[in-house]
């Protein structure tokens, strides 16, 4: 007969200690974070997709919601199992919470002989319950761009440094997922305040929880929790093993950056361009794409405003230089996007720009698959339009 967990207690948890929360404990976590002054957000179902949104408790989470994803396809399904996190990431990433799609940078008015600037106010501190490991990995990537470089984006950096992040490890990756290849999931070992694993077996529906920071320890200590038993740890291991086994895709990352760097003239870029609509969906759903436009406007009352708005390298205007765009062809724009993600991101920020979340595959209207494109180029390394033609015409 299986041992039973010790009855629920609120007691001081140690950093790295593993405990078990039941559903009411998860409810208390959300309430506790909100009581601490956080704007508390988590995955919610909106417009047929799982996206970040405000939550007040477990009832707001995607209860019994599952998903089916494939290149160019995303559908939610409903079950009666009551599980909260049995879905893979949807179109909305947590990027938007830290780096809003449109954000005022400053407003200015002419005062006397000069100008007076008002910089935008900081955003409220954010608590996230239910980010995936690939999504916190994406935030780590964004940190290198917006927070840890020579210039610190104060709005992003303040919101990020003040955030509380409770990650839920991934149990049900989609067919489009390849986080195992990128080393960003399905489990997580660091970079969180709390890490949860949802388990629903003979011993009940529960969460195995680890505290990864002092803030996490503090919050967890006041929640009714149980001591984790070996059975709980083994159950977590099974969840992660099963998740890794059902990973739908893989990306061969070894040598990938240099492979793409030496294949800028590969005929595959023209082939992708035949399919690519340059619609920018991939860059909008990507949790690491950071390109933005800086836009100034003036009001009739004389107030000036500068905004920062997401932009995309698929947009013709993106590479505009006096006289016109540098990257006019769809092939050059797709090449820019993919080689940036997987190759030149390393040069610029010493990391991959891809975390393997698979969103660009699911949300591409024509189902272009970054893993397939990379594999194709790897299999025909060194091809050029010239030698592709000569091969085709060879007897």
């Amino acid at each position: 007969m299986a041992k039973s967990n010790n009855p629920s207690v609120s007691s001081k948890v140690q950093l790295g200690e593993v405990v078990v929360l039941r559903l009411d404990g998860l409810d208390s976590l959300v309430a506790r974070l909100t009581a601490l002054g956080f704007e508390t957000k988590g995955p919610v179902v909106r417009d047929g997709a799982v996206v970040p949104g405000p939550i007040t408790g477990v009832a707001d989470l995607p209860v019994g919601v599952h998903d089916e994803q494939a290149p160019g396809s995303y559908r939610l399904t409903r079950g009666d199992d009551g599980r909260l996190f049995d879905w893979a990431v949807g179109p909305g990433s947590w990027k938007a919470e830290f780096f809003p799609p449109s954000q005022e940078v400053w407003r200015a008015v002419k005062v006397g002989d000069s100008m007076q600037f008002t910089e935008s106010a900081p955003l409220a501190p954010l608590a996230i319950v239910g980010a995936r490991p690939c999504e916190t990995a994406a935030l780590d990537v964004l940190d290198r761009v917006l927070k840890d470089g020579a210039h610190r984006d104060p709005v992003y950096a303040d919101r990020r440094e003040g955030a509380f992040v409770a990650v839920v490890e991934c149990a049900t990756p989609a067919s489009t997922c390849f986080c195992s290849s990128m080393g960003t999931g399905p489990g997580i070992e660091g970079g969180f305040d709390l890490a949860l694993t949802e388990i629903d077996d003979a011993r009940g529906h529960r969460f195995v929880v680890r505290a990864g920071s002092d803030a996490g320890v503090e919050v967890l200590s006041v929640l009714a929790h149980e001591e984790a038993l070996d059975e709980d740890l083994e159950a977590r291991g099974r969840v992660l093993d099963q998740a890794a086994a059902r990973m739908g895709r893989q990306l061969q990352t070894e040598g990938l950056a240099s492979l793409l760097a030496r294949n800028v003239e590969h005929p595959r870029w023209a082939d992708v361009a035949e399919r690519c609509l340059s619609c920018a969906n991939c860059t909008l759903v990507c949790p690491t794409c950071f390109c933005s436009d800086v836009r100034d406007t003036s009001d009739l009352d004389g107030t000036l405003e500068r905004r920062r708005v997401w932009s995309s390298c698929f947009d013709l205007e993106h590479s505009y230089l006096h006289g016109g765009a540098v990257r006019t062809s769809a092939s050059s724009r797709y090449r820019q996007w993919m080689t940036h993600k997987l190759s030149t991101w390393w040069d610029q920020f010493d990391t991959s720009g891809c975390v393997g979340c698979g969103r660009c595959i699911a949300w591409c209207p024509v189902g272009i698959d970054i893993t397939e494109e990379a594999a194709f180029i790897a299999a025909s390394d060194g091809a050029t339009p010239a030698n592709a033609v000569s091969k085709a015409s060879a007897p």
């Binding site: 940078v105 400053w106 200015a108 002419k110 002989d113 000069s114 100008m115 600037f117 910089e119 761009v145 917006l146 470089g149 020579a150 210039h151 984006d153 760097a261 800028v264 003239e265 950071f290 390109c291 933005s292 436009d293 800086v294 836009r295 100034d296 406007t297 003036s298 000036l304 500068r306 920062r308 932009s311 390298c313 993106h318 590479s319 505009y320 230089l321 006096h322 006289g323 540098v326 990257r327 006019t328 062809s329 050059s332 820019q336 940036h340 030149t344 040069d347 610029q348």
Partner: protein, 278 residues
Amino acid sequence: MTPVVHRVVGRIQETDDVTTLCLEPVTGARMDFRPGQFNMLSAFGVGEAAISLSSAPGDRGPLRHTVRDVGAVTRALCQRDVGDLIGVRGPFGSDWQVPQRTVGTAVKDVRDTVVIAGGIGLAPLRGAVHELVAASHGGGGRVFLLVGAREPSQLVFNDDMEAWARDGARVLVSVDRASPQWHGRVGLVTALLSDAGFDPANCRALLCGPEIMMRFTARALVDMGVAPEAILVSLERNMQCGLGWCGHCQLGPFLLCRDGPVVPYAGIVSQLLTERER
């Protein structure tokens, strides 16, 4: 992202569509910078554009930016009058690494410097030439300035070029199309290289102009025996933030606002210049 407000204290109409703006901060001290760096200039209410500094750090007087009217923002900047306000953020980016004028110290770098500019490409080089000519009188190497322009009316900084020549620099100018009044050379700037008289084995070259001009000039320099490592080029892409955040100024591995605009020609840059739509 918040600019420092500057006032236009002077403007020079260089050509039909090129204007030099002389700027002083409304409050506070003039910024320090190195030749080759750029600022983000705001035409308030219209937008911002990346414009290189065309003055020299050692000069007294206002900051200079030389702007060509090629779009909405640069047009608005060119139309600013004395007394108008302009926002300045910067300085950003890498520089030409020319010796700085320091009183009483000998300049250690005695190599020849070949400065090669196409059209308004002379603007980000102007400060460097000033410094180099001054350094050449303090033990620094010889200065060679080779300038190409589409036609004589497109030449900028004619007075400076005369002054640099008087100060010992060898200045050669060529235009693609001569006007009736033009008695100088006609042809591509690369045609000036063999007549300039610098020592290819002991020189450095600073290049700024259209990419195709830099590509062919750099190649010609290498063919003459100049080491690729001794060639610097100034590259340009759409720059919207100057801070490495906006992603627009990518060129292969570079974010040009951060890693450029001045980069060594040797290695990846020589390759990038031959690739289309990068």
